[in-house]
């Protein structure tokens, strides 16, 4: 069960149970909906952008523990960041979860988001971890709907 405990770490379980910034954001000026038609995970990311920086961010929706925790921790990570910084995090996060589980993680700015490195052992769950990030990316770039398929 060691790979499992890598995947379902306490922090992830905690964010699943008590997702942060889990609400509709009044005053949001950007938002996007993310959908994984294969599993039905569905979430909306709300952004309040000011001068190209994330002043506030939230999400709502339903999904598995991985997708919910990833969304929750993402909102914490991007608050206060500029648009290029968010895009940089998205790239690093994406590279990490798509990476080879045997290899060391490349140096990155991910901080506690590296907890999702456990997803590398579970290729079918990568989309769960990245759904909120793709949706964030869409919201930043004024797309309204994003699908994993």
């Amino acid at each position: 069960m060691s790979e499992l405990s890598e995947l379902y770490q306490q922090v992830i379980l905690d964010h699943n149970k008590k997702p942060r910034n889990f609400r509709k954001l009044e005053g949001a000026n950007h938002s996007a909906e993310g959908y994984n038609p294969l599993c039905g995970d569905h979430l909306t990311v709300y952004l309040q952008l000011e001068d190209d920086a994330v002043k506030d961010v939230s999400f709502e929706g339903s999904g598995c523990a991985i997708s919910k925790a990833a969304a929750s921790m993402m909102t914490q990570a991007v608050k206060g960041k500029t648009k290029p910084e968010v895009e940089q995090l998205f790239q690093e996060f994406h590279t990490m979860v798509m990476g080879d589980p045997e290899e060391e993680l490349a140096p990155n700015q991910l901080g506690n988001l590296t907890i999702f490195a456990g997803v590398r052992e579970f290729p079918v769950r990568v989309k769960c971890a990245t759904l909120s990030w793709h949706t964030m990316h869409a919201a930043l770039n004024n797309q309204e709907l994003v699908s994993t398929e």
Binding site: L4, Y8, L13, K17, L38, G40, C64, R125
Partner: protein
């Protein structure tokens, strides 16, 4: 052929009780470990495993008989045609069709239903007409009819169900009327396991002269089916859910209906003659089998049915029933587990949810223990909406499953709850 006959006779003597270990030995795929644990395959409603005799029959075809069917005067083409048409005869006996030409080979139940939609629906259903389906249909028995309604200006009506997952037949009666032109209902629900009283449903439709399509994808593997006794007008099933390879399947139709229908696809093998001015279509069943079919797979379907007959279908069904009963009992006792689909009559499917745990997380944790189940909406999103849940976890049984496997399932579910507590 020698090996095939030998392995068939090996299982021929009826066992006093179900000798599940002997049956398991017929399925090579079951002899493996997943994540270091013996594979526990409980995803049979999605696709069932293939016994050695069926694999050997397919190999023998490819090694010794492969050629195109219905068109060669040469030796191999005749061998292939004989084997392919032999499979059709086997299917005919399996569902007790009057004639083998009523058994059209298709890629699976989905293609079978689409064949009826195109061949019958597009010809005989028009604006203002109504099609009745049920609340527990698989997308394969919803979307084709929705597409037809859209195209023709017809209306889709839905028989509702109760909280146990049983159809409300009084409501069905209220939906039937002179505008009803077709009824399409599943025999066994893939998401809930409910066995529907299709004979009764068919009888009520016939009072209005309405033909009935039965989606048999989940019933053909688990119970004897007699299309004459049911008096259904169409019956679709998939080979890959009944221990045959993917790409095989059947749509049964009453000859009189099939004859007055439009063809499905146009092409080779479905014609009598072709000129640039006019084409005359072939007789049944070729009229509906354009192009080269999945010959090896359909021959495999015949072999799978032969296999089912040798092991004893009734005993197999009894064993599956006992597994379902036992699994229901074990899972009901676990706090936090809720079973979705509690109809009185059920077959082989156990759908459940766990409080505060998403089915995909259940699926991943079970997989780590070598246990394969399905997590998701099971291509039946309206069923999920009816029960107000995003998805379920679904264990589905075949006659090669064991009580020990059910125990492994139940024990790991307890572990899931522990992880998420």
């Amino acid at each position: 052929m020698a090996t095939i006959e030998k392995s068939l006779t090996q299982v021929k003597e009826p066992a006093a009780t179900w000798d599940v270990e002997r049956i398991r030995a017929d399925f090579p795929v079951l002899r493996q470990t997943v994540n270091g644990k013996p594979l526990v395959y409980l995803d049979n409603a999605a696709s069932s495993q293939v016994p050695q005799v069926v694999i050997e029959r397919g190999s023998m075809y490819l090694e010794q008989e492969h050629s195109n069917i219905h068109r060669g005067v040469h030796y191999l083409s005749q061998k292939a045609t004989t084997a392919y048409e032999g499979a059709r005869e086997t299917v005919k006996r399996f569902i007790n069709a009057r004639e083998s030409k009523e058994c059209i080979f298709v890629r699976g139940a989905t293609e079978g239903i689409n064949l009826v939609m195109n061949g019958y629906g597009r010809k005989f259903i028009g604006a203002g007409d109504e099609i009745i389906i049920s609340a527990m249909e698989h997308h394969a028995n919803i979307v084709p009819w929705q597409m037809l309604c859209e195209e023709k200006g017809a209306r889709l009506r839905v028989i509702p169900m109760n909280d146990a997952g049983e159809l409300l037949l009084d409501e069905y009666d209220a939906l039937l009327n002179e505008r009803t032109k077709l009824v399409a209902v599943t025999h066994v629900s893939n998401a809930l396991g409910t066995i529907n009283p299709v004979k009764d449903i068919i009888e009520r439709a016939h009072k209005y002269g309405v033909p009935v399509v039965i989606d048999g994808a989940q019933s053909a593997p688990h119970m004897p089916v007699d299309v004459q006794d049911l008096d259904c007008d169409f019956y679709a099933f998939s080979g890959h859910k009944i221990f045959a390879p993917t790409g095989s399947g059947v749509i049964y139709g009453k000859a009189a209906l099939l004859e007055k229908m439009n063809p499905f696809q146009g092409g080779g093998d479905m014609i009598k003659s072709v000129t640039f001015e006019k084409t005359t279509f072939a007789d049944l069943p070729n009229k509906f089998e354009a192009g080269t079919p999945a010959i090896a797979s359909q021959i495999g379907l015949g072999a799978a049915i032969d296999y089912l007959n040798t092991i004893g279908r009734e005993q197999a069904a009894l064993h599956e029933h006992e597994l379902l009963r036992y699994a229901t009992e074990r899972l009901s006792k676990i706090e936090g587990v809720r079973i979705i689909g509690t109809a009185r009559e059920k077959a082989s499917v156990l759908s459940f949810v766990i409080d505060e745990v998403h089915p995909h997380d259940i699926g991943t944790i079970l997989d780590q223990e070598g246990i394969a189940i399905r997590a998701g909406h099971h291509c039946a999103q309206p069923v999920m909406q009816r029960f107000n849940i995003p998805a379920t976890a679904r264990a589905s049984f075949a006659f090669y499953n064991t009580k020990e496997e059910v125990d492994a399932l139940a024990n790991t579910i307890e572990k899931v709850i522990e992880i998420f507590s």
